[in-house]
């Protein structure tokens, strides 16, 4: 899988070309090009302040990039130029869903409601743009039932079915992260962008997350793009790693390739030799544990 077959070159779901984002005088992302392969788990890594979240915000339409082109090809074969779309259209038309670094759940709404809000657009049509729904005609009930079933499917998948009717704000941290992923998946995306999904998780939760992401790719056929610091997640499950430093891409390849890239080691870990050794060790351990599992 990690060998010569590079999906991101042959069949990219997302291609970012010459993306630059400036804030006043600060260049957060500089002429970045990379692709995410269809069905791949692509990891975007880099030290703090490398511009990873900025890239995400550009892809998902929250920022308008200064220059650059981002093309998204969902399964239906259409081509969407993301830089021309407002944020909500990126989600609804181009089928890109995302989570946030600092979790953004609807904390006063129940888990089920969170997952129903994610199905807003189809449900809106089902309710006859509200007009028929208020009058109680147009078969909205059945469509809502289907939406609840879909929510149930995801609650089962993240293991939170028993808490379906509790407010999202009451969940422990790790469960909130999973719920946010499930909520993004309820929009039926072709590309799922995860901003540090493993941040703050304990090792067990982190392993569960890996399993969840792998199953999302396998069962739902959704490609995943993730920002991550947790090397066990990055090396454990990703097919493709893109490394950023100061807004510039310094490496791009399979996890094995990037892991051994001296530029990555130097940049990502700083130039201090001791640190390098330490981290190399960590990386090896992570790789070892991956092999051990396999």
């Amino acid at each position: 899988m990690m060998t010569s077959h590079r999906t991101w070159d042959s069949d990219p779901v997302l291609s970012v070309e010459h993306l630059t984002m400036r804030f006043g005088g600060l260049v957060a992302v500089n002429d970045l090009s990379f692709s995410a392969g269809r069905g791949d788990i692509t990891a975007l890594i880099g030290p703090n302040g490398a511009g990873k979240t900025t890239v995400f915000n550009c892809i998902t339409g929250f920022y308008k990039p200064t220059t650059g082109m981002m093309s998204m090809r969902p399964k239906d074969g259409a081509l969407h130029l993301l830089e021309r779309m407002p944020d909500f259209v990126v989600a609804s038309k181009a089928k890109v869903a995302r989570t946030f670094q600092n979790i953004r759940l609807f904390s006063g709404m129940t888990l089920l409601e969170n997952l129903l809000v994610a199905q807003h657009n189809p449900l809106m049509i089902a309710s006859g743009m509200t007009f028929l729904g208020v009058l109680g005609i147009g078969g909205y009930k059945a469509k809502e039932k289907a939406a609840i079933d879909r929510a149930r499917y995801w609650l089962d998948k993240i293991g939170l079915t028993a808490r379906a009717d509790d407010p999202a704000g009451d969940l422990p941290y790790g469960a909130q992260r999973r719920l946010e992923i499930a909520r993004a998946m309820c929009t039926g995306p072709d590309l799922l962008c995860l901003d540090e999904p493993a941040a703050g998780l304990n090792p067990r939760e982190s392993a569960e997350l890996n399993a969840l992401l792998l199953s999302i790719r396998k069962d739902d056929g959704t490609s995943i793009l993730l920002i991550e610091h947790d090397m066990s997640v990055v090396m454990g499950i990703s097919d493709h790693v893109v490394v950023l430093e100061y807004g510039i891409k310094i490496a791009d390849g399979t996890p094995t390739e990037t892991r051994n890239d001296p530029r990555v080691i130097a940049a990502y870990l700083g130039v201090d030799d001791e640190d390098v050794e330490e981290i190399e060790q960590e990386l090896d351990e992570a790789a070892g544990s991956e092999e051990g599992r396999a």
């Binding site: 804030f23 979240t53 915000n57 929250f62 920022y63 946030f100």
Partner: protein, 319 residues
Amino acid sequence: MLPLGATAGGLNFMEVFVQQVINGITIGSLYGLIAIGYTMVFGIIGMVNFAHGDVFMVSAFFALIFLLLLTSWFGIASMTLALILVMVVSMVLTGLLVWAIERIAYAPLRGSFRLAPLISAIGMSIVLSNFIQVAQGPRNKPIPPVTRDVYTLWEGANGYPVNLSLKQIIIWVVTALLLAAFWYVVQKTALGRAQRACEQDRKMASLLGVNVDRTISLTFVIGAALAAVAGTLFLMYYGVVVFSDGFTPGVKAFTAAVLGGIGSLPGAVLGGLLIGLIETLWGQYVSADYQNVAAFSILVVVLIFMPQGLLGRPEVEKV
């Protein structure tokens, strides 16, 4: 509808214009003084202190009452002395009032539900205007003119004069002096530093030993003292005050703060002057009836098209 000078068909265009600019700067100075209160409070705790306009009105009443007290009960003849005393007393009492308001109505709500302080401030605004209505009566309160001195700068065609009154000079000078003093406090003193620290990051400031609660209280008090200066000058300039005088100047001063860039102190003053000028020129050249509509429309337009104002920092949405 057109005022006297303008009927001469552009004959005195220059004179009319200059006269209106003089008037506009005068009113604008008052708006600027009030606007500082809005902008400082918004800067430090992100709250629109809705009662600030009514605080201004109450301060004018303090000035009115003490002016009467000094002239009729104590028989002080020197208007200059009376004015200075009245202004100081009004500043102190208004500061005290706002300190009490902040302690009672705003401080307990800090860090709670975001709308609560705004609603509380609206409630306070209702309380202040109605309290004055009940305590001082609902009628206009006219005072005899403090001074009638007017200097004619020059005369245009048909003897149309461009006037600068002593009252206007007083307003300009007092505003300039107080702004300078205020600027010094904010830029050079420990209080100013504490204020700016709280503006940046309240939690961090408190960790570094800044007494955040006291700093916020003092911010309110300073804003109130400047509003009291405006209140006293307002009374002197127009010679009349009524309990409902807080709302419109309040909204206009807020407009000024927003126009200048909320959170920016020079912005508040600049915004005040601009609002004053726009208002008088609009009244002169467009329509006196729709003068207030103009002020509100500016507010809407500025907020929609440049919410960061003239001198404010643009905001990047945090995702």
